[in-house]
Amino acid sequence: MINGRIIFLLAMAPAWMCGQPVKLDSLDKLSEKASETVTVSLDGSLLKMASRFLSSDDPDQAQIKKIVAGLKGVYVRNFEFEKPGQYQQSDLEPIRNQLKDPKWKKIVEVRGRDNADVRLRQEDENTISGLAVIVAEATELTVVYIDGPVDMDGLSKLAGTFGIPEDIGSKVEKEKEKDKEKKPK
């Protein structure tokens, strides 16, 4: 019996080490209150399929094809509301709780009239295995979760065409340096 449990734990270890995927299902109830809802759930197989239909001649599509190549999933929830107060911060708690894992590094946090968080999941110093973006505005709520090795350089190359900040990669580097400084010698 004990041996069986040990074998099970050993078998599951790689999955746990790679990090649990973030589940966005808890947000789906908001679609009833939202005036517009965008739900994107693309797992690995659907990403591969979508990738096959991306044109290599179009620079944007070719870039996306490159970014998507190693990803395990792309999940987006976007809700637009008629008026403020249609959703609560507590609605985001299940998502934020999943991002409390120490592997999730806070890259950007904006607090004020609108709240925004950008977090990266790092397996080690050189491996980014996920990106989470939460933007909570008065009448709009957006949650993005990209599962897999996020190519920050690739994302930077989309800047200008897709509006991704060019220096987001350098922010990650700065965060790494901060972490190194914090570590006791």
Binding site: F53, V68, V74, V76, V110, A116, F162, P165
Partner: protein
């Protein structure tokens, strides 16, 4: 000699074939053989039609699957493009907010 022996001798005695026997035998040997049922042209035609229908159905199924895959792929591509658009737009928005505060 008994009557029975006479009858037996008459029954077994050599008799010449009737006139034209050889010609009739030769005529029968050159006659066309009756075709076997499975080599009948109708059977072959029916089998051909059935095979054609099967191939046609298979072709339609392959084409249907290809169309479904095409539709699913285009839908997945549209979703991916939309996801990337939303992600980049929101990251850009955050970037502008952060830059505005600096």
């Amino acid at each position: 000699m008994t009557e029975f022996e006479d009858q037996l001798r008459r029954a077994l005695e050599r008799k010449d074939p009737s006139a034209g026997f050889a010609a009739r035998v030769m005529a029968r040997t050159t006659q066309k053989k009756r075709p076997l049922p499975w080599v009948n042209w109708r059977s072959w035609t029916a089998a051909g039609i059935a095979a054609g229908l099967c191939l046609g159905a298979l072709g339609l199924e392959v084409e249907h699957r290809r169309q479904v895959e095409q539709q699913e792929g285009q839908a997945a591509k549209a979703q991916l493009m939309q996801a990337m658009h939303i992600t980049s737009a929101k990251l850009h928005q955050i970037h502008q907010r952060v830059r505005g505060r600096l």
